[in-house]
């Protein structure tokens, strides 16, 4: 009961300076509730991996505090580490070892005996589609398999907080979807998940809450729904049956002619699109399909980061 009331992760005034000058983190505060599926977003070099590195003690913080389910990572590091499972961005397992050994060894580092470790290894390798390859040197696995192996390894000690740094980078769409299902499943069974990703569709589909980090500062920390509501304009791409030479005029909508068979229409938040289709039908323009130009979260993310740039450049 105590664990469910205590935040899964509490970060206070966390800062990290590399060398004498480069401030990767500038005193960030972050709270992730137990059971959450949380996205940590930000452009390259924003401080996401540094934050994750500090949480799992691969990076030494300059100041601030981090606690995991109430256990401070400095004062009570052994218990804090038990709660964390981490899937890093880069492959970091021994490429010459077999998947089964990688998992059993990792369990051993957490003090889990071989019998229990083998049972868990079998379960996770089967769930992640790696059981048939368990005796093969891990260097022979495909990129997607290696990534799944790192997920299995992170889960072998059954952590309550799973941190994934770009888990689906370079993974094909089908596999990405199956990994999403797997992550949703373990989240529903109680594991708190923190995810960094460049696929903002991923964050929008999976996560309930989100923090956007940029230049070492948290610029937004809210629910995904609340964040999407902030989006004032959405751009839709319409594919037309017939060739168009210019953009049609429709009152109340900004329409751009992008190529001979497609239009881009900006729709303000709260505005309906029925009149648009009625107007296009009057002008004998038949629409075959419609889609968002970019992911909604991506539009918002870009606008936030772009707004931030002049300030940080000054």
């Amino acid at each position: 009961m105590i664990e469910s009331q205590t935040p899964a992760l509490q970060i206070s005034q966390l800062s990290k300076t590399y060398g004498d000058h480069f401030e990767a983190l500038k005193g960030i505060d972050l709270r992730v509730e137990s059971g959450d599926f949380f996205a940590l977003l930000g452009p390259n070099g924003a401080g996401k991996s540094t934050t994750i590195g500090i949480i799992c003690s691969l990076v030494r913080k300059s100041s601030g505090s981090v606690s995991v389910f109430g256990h401070d990572i400095d004062a009570d590091f052994a218990n804090a580490k038990r709660y964390i499972g981490v899937v890093p961005q880069e492959f970091n397992f021994n490429q010459f070892e077999q998947p089964i050994d990688i998992l059993v060894n990792q369990a051993g580092y957490y003090g889990i005996g071989r019998r229990v470790a083998l049972e868990r290894a079998e379960r996770y390798l089967k769930q992640l589609g790696l059981w048939e390859r368990r005796w093969e040197p891990s260097r022979t696995l495909s990129g997607g398999m290696k990534r799944r192996l790192m997920i299995a390894r992170a889960l072998i000690h059954e952590p309550k907080l799973l941190i994934l740094d770009e888990p689906t980078a370079g993974v094909d769409i089908e596999l990405r979807r199956s990994m999403w299902e797997f992550l949703c499943d373990i989240n529903q069974r109680g594991t708190t998940i923190i995810l960094t990703t460049h696929y903002l569709e991923e964050a929008e589909s999976l996560c309930r809450n989100v923090a956007i980090i940029d230049h070492g500062k948290i610029v937004q920390n809210t629910s995904v729904k609340a964040l999407i509501k902030q989006l004032s304009v959405e751009t839709f791409v319409l594919d037309t049956r017939d060739e168009l030479v210019s953009a049609p005029e429709v009152e109340g909508y900004r329409i751009a002619h992008t190529d001979s068979h497609s239009l881009e229409v900006e729709v303000v938040s709260g505005q309906t699109i029925n009149p648009l289709f009625a107007a296009l039908a009057e002008q004998a323009i038949e629409v075959l399909s419609m889609r968002n130009k970019t992911n909604r979260l991506e539009e918002l993310f870009i606008s936030m980061v772009e707004k931030k740039l002049p300030e940080t450049a000054a």
Binding site: S57, L58, F93, N94
Partner: protein, 257 residues
């Protein structure tokens, strides 16, 4: 972690280390055996026969303990330095660093892994040496304790080298430019009684001289130096290197950003 969990973590590291050097046995077990057989053939049988006695012993009996100890030193050192640096290079050392395994357990796990290889090679070389020379053990406790301590000392030294290493060049510099010359000048092939007083005194700063002579004493009862002084030197060296290595692991410098 409780005692049982700590034991499991320690056993996991040691088992992984032993399996590593057994998996790559053509690189780890065969070359040192071939090297030592060649030493016995050349220095023992071919040249040794013409040298006659050294410090009152037939030359082959004089060099045999030194050659065995040389194998133990180089294999203990190279096992840990290559394994730990390999883990740093592939970044799988992070598997341990993110876990609750205490740093002292990481240190002891790697050191015992190195000792297992060093002592294993030592046993193989000792058995091979029986083919070339007849000898018995003069003092079993001294022989066993000095070989254990020496293996431990050089395993720790290998770990410290690996922690500081930033490239594969860095892990070959110490064995090539420090360990090998010290071994060759450490009384493996000659008695310091052959040296002038000045060079005999200079030789006393070489730690390998102490372990080789003490090991030789264990076999034959012959030594150039006081064996108790030797034990004190080895014990002190282990204490100092162990403390420095543990401090490096605790601070995480060269391992954590």
């Amino acid at each position: 972690m409780n005692r049982n969990e700590i034991w499991i973590a320690f056993a996991t590291i040691v088992t992984r280390e032993v399996r590593r050097f057994l998996r790559i046995w053509p690189q780890t077990l065969i070359p040192p055996v071939i090297t030592i057989v060649l030493y016995f053939l050349i220095f023992g049988n071919l040249i040794g026969g013409r040298i006659g006695e050294m410090a009152g012993l037939p030359y082959i009996q004089f060099v045999a303990p030194g050659l065995i100890m040389m194998s133990v030193i180089t294999n203990s050192y190279s096992n840990v330095v290559s394994s730990f640096y390999g883990s740093k290079f592939q970044r799988n050392i992070e598997e341990l660093l993110v876990s609750p395994t205490p740093n002292i357990v990481i240190l002891l796990g790697y050191v015992v892994g190195g000792m297992t290889r060093g002592l294993g090679i030592g046993v193989i070389v000792t058995l091979l040496s029986l083919y070339f020379a007849d000898f018995s053990i003069h003092n079993v406790p001294v022989t066993i304790s000095i070989v254990l301590l020496t293996s431990m000392l050089f395993s720790i030294a290998g770990l410290l080298n690996a922690i500081f290493a930033d490239s594969f060049d860095d892990i070959s510099i110490v064995p090539t430019f420090i360990l090998t010359p010290l071994t060759y000048l450490g009384g493996v092939f000659y008695s310091t009684q052959l040296l002038s007083d000045f060079w005999a005194n200079v030789a006393l700063i070489n730690p390998i001289l102490y372990v080789v002579n003490t090991f030789r004493y264990g076999f034959s009862g012959v030594t150039d130096i006081n064996i108790w002084w030797s034990f004190a030197m080895v014990g002190l060296s282990i204490t100092v290197l162990f403390s420095i290595t543990l401090r490096q692991l605790e601070q995480g410098s060269r391992l954590r950003s």
